[in-house]
Symmetry: C2
Subunit: 144 residues, 2 copies
DNA sequence: TTGTTTGCAAATTCTTTGCAACGCG
DNA sequence: CGCGTTGCAAAGAATTTGCAAACAA
């Protein structure tokens, strides 16, 4: 249930990218908060409160680099910022309450039948993890 | 396969809202382009080229009013602006190609099994139409 | 008249980009 | 040293908001 920042750093290196202090720092945050819904802003705040000086554009660029290296994926939970996580945790579909913002996840494989049907009828190869679906959580649905 | 602008206008009236020239104009565009993927910007452009002077903020506010009246729904096709359509056409799920932006739709009822499973396991009542799912269209998938 | 709407401009939110200075390899 | 990276500031895209003037009821 833990990942070492080094894995991320090494992957950057193997892509021919330079290992800088800021990239190390971003990798450290991702590793330490592994499993959480990380946003670019969260990372910036985390680092700044750790007295690391970093610009948000650098964070976005580092996140992009990690994503191109296949070490990170992001998804969009309704409105608001994109969330990043390790691909190993990505085999789930995000479900967000449009009323209160609560989130839940369901295993993506429960959608495999539907994905196959879409492929057959439209030719689209669906990646259900990139965007969340919205709905109402139990509490908000009850209020209606 | 046609809707009269009057239906929309009357619905606004029955909500206690005032019928103004601009609201009529927005309703007219929605009615005339019924079936298409309408964005706020499209409506503004349409009206302006029809020599109707209207501000985008007014369009957004009118769209909100129509949506609250239950006459319109919007969904998010990946990045980019929200698209609006009549609820009668809403019983479909949007599928967008993350590479080229091509869209397809699939009937929502093909997802009903999954929606039921999500309700049972998480308590969430999913509205699959509000956000599109992304993937690769046949052409872009073939390029990989 | 009076409370609702409108237009305009400015603010917001999230993300990207141009560019000169910086620092890894 | 040279080119990839960074910080900064500004640009962008989509949408929202504050406010005084305009207008429907």
């Amino acid at each position: 249930m833990h990942i070492s920042p080094d894995v991320l750093v090494e992957a950057l290196r193997s892509q021919g990218l330079r290992i800088t202090t800021t990239r190390r720092a971003v990798c450290a945050v991702i590793a330490s908060r592994h499993g959480q819904h990380l946003t670019a802003a969260t990372i910036v705040d985390d680092l700044r409160s750790d007295e690391v000086k970093i610009d948000q554009s650098t964070v976005y660029r580092t996140l992009d680099a990690l994503e191109e290296a296949g070490l990170l994926v992001h998804s969009h939970l309704g409105h608001g910022p994109a969330v990043y996580h390790l691909p190993s945790e990505a085999a789930h579909q995000h479900v967000v309450c449009s009323e209160c913002g609560a989130t839940a996840t369901v295993p993506t494989d429960s959608l495999s039948g539907w994905i196959g049907a879409v492929r057959d009828t439209t030719g689209f190869e669906i990646d259900p993890t990139h965007f969340a679906v919205t709905g109402l959580c139990r509490t908000c649905a009850a209020k209606r």
